[in-house]
Amino acid sequence: MKKPKIRELKEAITSLFSKPFTSQFPFKPHTPAKKFRGKPEYNRDTCVGCGACFNVCPARAIEMVDQVVDGKWKRVLIHHPKDCLFCGECERNCITDDGIKLSGVFDVSYFDEKDVQSKVEHDLIVCKHCGEIIGTEKHVLWTLRKLGNPAFSQPVMISRLMEEFGLVTDEEEKVAGPVQRTDMLKIVCPKCRRMAFISDEKKER
């Protein structure tokens, strides 16, 4: 059976003299393909803190914590590579298309997990009456900008913009007692606004 042997011999000689397929990593750096799905990383400037990535992650690798830090409400989004699937759902569902993206980093071994986590922190807007969390400041402003001109039909948004431009400060005291119509420019959360319209309280504050 000489013929088959020649075929295999040819292949054997070719593979003997060609470069081995194994790469030289870690002695030489390895560049993954362009579309490679590596570790997700937040972009502090473009992420608005809406929490869409937290909601869609199949492995629950993104943690969202809303808490008071130094008297102000803050939201922290932390991505944990130890649970991550590198699927890219966070990147695909990000509302700004730029808040979190999958980088080319594939080497995520660690001694301390904080070295490889990706974190982003935002200020939260809370209702001055009931304390309910509305959303992050950046998210509200991003929505405003998307609305364009119709945004100005909402008086609370006007006062929010005035705060952004520094025309009023945020250091107003909490709105105590029953909400009245005069408070409507300060109250953001829909629950309290509805109460003001429904219960027409004439009690003095």
Binding site: P4, S15, K34, K35, R37, P58, L85, F86, G88
Partner: protein, 398 residues
Amino acid sequence: MNDKKKVIVPIGPYHPLLEEPEFFALYCDGEKVVDVEWQAGYNHRAIEKLSEGKHWDQVTFLVERICGICSTSHPFAYCNSVEDLLDITVPEKARYIRCIIGEMERIHSHLLWVGLAGHFLGYNTVFMWAWKYRESILEMFEMITGNRNHYAMFKIGGVRRNIEDEDIPALRKVLKDIRAKLEMLTHAVLDDPVLGARLKGVGVLTKGHIKDFGAVGPVARASGVDIDIRRDDPYAAYPAVEWKVIKTENGDVFDKAVVRLLECMESVRIIEQSLDAIEGSKGDIENQVREMPVGEGIGRHEAPRGECFHYVRSDGSNSPVRHKIRAPSYTNIPTFKASCVGQMIADVAIILAGVDPCYCCTERVAVYDADKKNKKLFGFSRLVEMSREKTERMRKQV
């Protein structure tokens, strides 16, 4: 069972040689196998229960991780089942892309099998070469999908990523190379006298066995049972491309090898035709799904190992209320009861490999002493050694 002392050979459950843990107990009488018992569950991960707590789109990623080798078969069957429930169709470009991914996976899975079969028989060069050719396919996967395994390409209603025109030339080059290598491998297997003597007539499964156990895939087609879900229950772009179903008659391990190698050639044909169809196309890749009605759906896909079957039920909420997954190996592995009985112990390793068990929910094989159940005679490495020794003996005879 008669009075003669039976020997039970245990193989498993955890062994460095086999990819996943599983357990078979072979009852042996001297050199011949008399009965086989299969125990499963070492790899059980409660995926059907987990499905009920995830959203419809998140379940795709969960089922992708059922298996590493046939990683795309489960999302494919799952998406088919949900699309059956919703009664929607997938855009044309997405159908071709799904076929491309599915067929590339078939090639890489069969090449992996060829390597393992060679390894069990003692042909380590075949092992090295087959896995080397497989590497170029995995590189292509990384280029198109972003990862060598767990491609995350499937979504209910379409695919998640596009195959850009600039990637297609590299893909075509790899396919051309693979075709040449596959031809060489196929002829090397078919012409080799030692392989023929070693594998022909070993582990035969008749049509009756296939029917009794519900076996599918190359295991069934090697025994002459003409079933292939891509042709029988068409989905994606399979009705639009030309290809043929490979079927042989004898049902032994040699035929199974032939079926798998020839199937790879058909896969290359399908991929080339699909690339011709999508090159330059600017179509949609997704049909957006916004609401899930109440109902149930069944979806199937011809995975490299056979028919992968998913059944899904919805009550209108965000998660499935019942998700039944049947991997092809679930019905293929019990065929050991029929194919191993009456065979020599030295052949068990290759008969096991012939079914190409993807132990996504199964175990390993062990051989015990029939009378003293705890006396383990030898493990799987010894069985593989015995298999290789037999090949050496046959090579000297030929």
